[in-house]
């Protein structure tokens, strides 16, 4: 059994209430930072922990905090990114639904560290039930004296508000999120300046993912060094993995980083193997934007070593044979799934979610979707495959924000690893409508290990 830091008490009845959460040791981190630590010491502890941003980019949280500008007389803001919209990712919803106080406690700890007195939790609008849950948790915390003026007689003041989004994947990008929080269209800003210098209302701002903020609680309770002992290499601590697709036990799992991918898929403690006796064909390991890998490459690297659930191991081999941990949205495809159809589906998603601000993304995402739809519906030409690769390449790296890359990678990687399936679709348009390409030679027939 791996160690759990965030979901330890997830099955405790009433853990969503302040009372039970406190009984289980909740708000100790708030007491500790307010009574015993300076803000800089809190930042130092988070740096020591090696915590990396859990939203997808994996940037070290402590370092991000230390970039925050601190000009005199200008307010600073902490904004929590709860816009969770990356297909395959549903861990933040789970955390906010079941242990809302873990996020609120993390918000207080982090706001104190950054010297913020007003903090916002931006939650995607579709999660209205979670917004209500968080608002209730904030009220409870305020009534108990963990929020408001002069918290626990420390002289520190903090208010937290929950802000709903309006339905836009792009608002998960931190500058688009800030625009949205300012009541505008979610168009990403052109960087620099970065939010650490000019963020919300032009003031220095840190934007952190829900899980990153919640992780500061065990870091403060146990110390950064203890946290850094968990995990492997520069992938320290635990990570919430959202597991979905054709597995036996879909759900959210807290893993110690470094867990072998094969164990994660086949162990009964986690996904429990593939559902309905099917075999694994492919995996999207970190949310829809990271490269899809065929079964053999997800369990072992090209060099033949076991692949681990960690930032480094998943990206071993670069984009040629590797992928990324991303947000931890782990989607497993069985042998019956059609890669062409799924790639078209993802392309449609990015087309739908492009903000339309910059031309390569606005025009290119729609173009890719149309070509993929053409192939999927049986009208593809052989040259369409190379055209897709080329259009993806022309979007990648040329856009304002990472949505362009996120749209290009799934298409490029699907063709890289499953080109034969695309060709089969084009050569057998009639057949492709009634059956799937199935498990091809790139997928090793895997036996469950347990």
């Amino acid at each position: 059994m791996g160690r759990k830091l965030l979901l330890t008490h997830i099955n405790e009845p009433g853990i969503h209430t302040l009372e039970v959460y406190r009984q289980k040791g909740g708000y100790r981190a708030v007491e500790k930072v307010l009574k015993q630590m300076t803000p800089d010491e809190v930042v130092e502890e988070v740096k020591k922990s090696g915590l990396r941003g859990r939203g997808g980019a994996g940037f070290p949280t402590g370092m991000k905090w230390s970039f925050l500008a601190k000009p005199e007389g200008v307010p600073r803001y902490l904004v929590c990114n709860g816009d969770e919209s990356e297909p395959g990712t549903f861990k933040d919803r789970y955390l906010m639904t079941h242990i809302p106080h873990a996020l609120i406690e993390g918000m207080i700890v982090s706001s104190y560290a950054l010297g913020a007195h007003t903090s916002y939790i931006y939650v995607r609008g579709e999660m209205m039930p979670q917004i209500r849950i968080l608002e209730r948790a904030i009220q409870e915390a305020k009534a108990a004296g963990f929020l408001g003026q002069n918290i626990m007689s420390s002289g520190y003041n903090l208010e937290i508000y929950v802000q709903p989004g309006g339905g836009a994947y792009i608002c998960g990008e931190e500058t688009a999120l800030l625009e949205s929080l300012e009541g505008k269209r979610g168009n990403p800003r052109i960087k620099p300046p970065f939010p650490a210098i000019a963020g919300l209302y032009g003031c220095p701002t840190v934007v952190n993912n829900v899980e990153s903020i919640a992780a500061t609680v065990p870091i403060i309770n146990d110390g950064g060094e203890e946290y850094a002992k968990i995990g492997i290499e520069r992938s320290t601590g635990t990570k919430l993995i959202s597991a979905s697709g054709n597995i036996k036990n879909p759900g959210v799992y807290e893993i110690e980083l470094g867990l072998p991918v094969e164990e994660f898929i086949y162990s009964d403690e986690y996904c429990g193997g593939m559902a309905n006796g099917k075999r694994l064909k492919a995996v999207v390991a970190g949310g829809s934007s990271v490269p899809i890998l065929p079964a053999n490459l997800i369990t072992t690297t090209a060099a033949g070593t076991a692949r681990l659930m960690s930032y480094e191991s998943l990206s071993d081999g670069g984009f040629q044979t590797g992928t990324m941990l991303g947000s931890g949205g782990f989607v497993a495809f069985d042998e019956d799934q059609c890669i062409v159809r799924n790639t078209w589906n993802f392309a449609r998603f990015y087309h739908h979610e492009s903000c339309g601000q910059c031309s390569p993304c606005r025009e290119g995402t729609g173009w890719m979707e149309k070509v993929l739809h053409k192939i999927e519906s049986g009208h593809g030409a052989q040259s369409d495959i190379d055209l897709l690769v080329d259009v993806a390449k022309k979007i990648e790296g040329n856009t304002i924000c990472p949505l362009g890359d996120a749209a290009a990678w799934p298409v490029a990687s699907a063709i890289r690893h499953f080109r034969d399936e695309f060709e089969w679709h084009i050569q057998h348009p009639g057949l492709a409508k009634t059956q799937n390409y199935g498990l091809a030679q790139y997928a090793d027939p895997l036996q469950p290990i347990l």
Binding site: G356, L387, G397
Partner: protein, 337 residues
């Protein structure tokens, strides 16, 4: 540092010394010539403009004297400020030339090929870009995007199908006029310039959206279909106007003033914004004091149907890779000789 409080930056091997805070694009404009990146959305007189069209992407091969590391991606030159000792590659980087071609292709896939009936033809930035960086054939085989036509009043014609969403007209309405009634509605490739509910774009300075539009999406209704611009004779003129500088360009067809616009500089930007009275109401020669014929950029079709020859920096003639990257331009120059 070359001078006190100045940054030295080199663009395609040509050095220039500029004030800190200057963007790469504006540093390039100080040098001038073919090394100036094209700009479809940036407009120096409109705060917040730029960064969107991606035609001005350049490569920063050396970040600065202090931190010489190159920047990992191509950057929008209109929104990236120079550092002392920075080295930038524009047309001397095959990667940049390739990316620019890509952007032009993206801008064109849904743009209607209606130049023959478009009033902007001849002074259209997209037409220029397509000529310089576009391919002769499109690889896009789907129906082009169209929008429902909307009427925004009797002065300005909105032709959304041609719009490239540069946002210049939105910034203009925000910053130059006293009330913005149009904006960008919708999202992604279906975002459109619109008033949303039926309304007219009409106030003292609203006509300036015509001048800032890089394509034929916003044109002058009072000039509509009156003449191709290359059959007109532009003349500098002024009047004592209470609302604006009164400095304009009159566009003559024979003895008749068929259009009034603001004066534009060599980068196609207006020198000063003009009011709607000057633009739409003063169409008689007697309203104006004539100064002189407008100097026309020979690169423009208005300048008697000939294109300026491409004058690449010497480094291109010495490097095979760069010659390949700029092949189309060089061939065209050969033909024009």
């Amino acid at each position: 540092m070359a001078e006190e409080n100045k940054f030295t930056v080199s663009i395609d091997g040509i050095s220039v010394s500029v004030d800190p805070g200057t963007t790469i694009l504006n540093a390039a404009r100080q040098i001038g010539g073919d090394i100036v990146p094209p700009a479809m959305c940036y407009y120096s007189k409109l705060e917040g403009s730029g960064g969107k069209c991606r035609t001005c992407l350049v490569k920063v091969s050396k970040g600065s004297e202090k931190d010489p590391r190159p920047m990992p991606k191509l950057v929008a030159s209109c929104r990236t400020t120079v550092m002392d000792g920075m080295e930038v590659q524009n047309i001397t980087s095959p990667e940049v030339v390739e990316a620019r071609k890509a952007v032009v292709e993206m801008l064109l896939i849904n743009h209607p090929l209606d130049c023959p009936v478009c009033d902007q033809a001849g002074e259209c930035k997209l037409q220029d870009l397509g000529y310089e960086h576009g391919s002769a054939k499109t690889r896009y085989e789907f129906e082009r995007r169209t929008f429902e036509r909307i009427d925004i009043g009797d002065k300005i014609q909105l032709h959304m199908n041609r719009c490239i969403l540069c946002y210049r007209c939105v910034f203009t309405a925000d910053q130059i006029t006293d009330k913005r009634v149009h904006g960008v509605i919708g999202r992604g490739d279906h975002a459109e310039i619109s008033t949303y509910i039926q309304g007219v774009v009409d106030n003292d300075f609203s006509g300036n959206v015509i001048d800032v539009c890089p394509v034929g999406a916003l044109t002058d209704k009072t000039f509509r279909f009156k003449s191709r611009v290359w059959f007109t004779k532009p003349v500098q003129a002024h009047c004592a106007c209470e609302k604006c500088s009164g400095k304009v360009t009159l566009w003559y067809k024979g003895e008749e003033v068929i259009r009034v616009t603001a004066r534009k500089d060599e980068f196609g930007e207006v020198e000063s914004f003009i009011c709607n009275t000057c633009r739409f109401e003063r169409k008689a020669t007697s309203d104006w004091t004539i100064e002189q014929p407008t100097a026309i950029n020979p690169a423009s079709v208005i300048g008697a149907n000939h294109y300026e020859q491409f004058q690449p920096p010497a480094v291109i003639s010495e490097d095979e890779k760069l010659q390949t990257a700029n092949r189309a331009q060089l061939l065209r120059t050969e033909k024009l000789k």
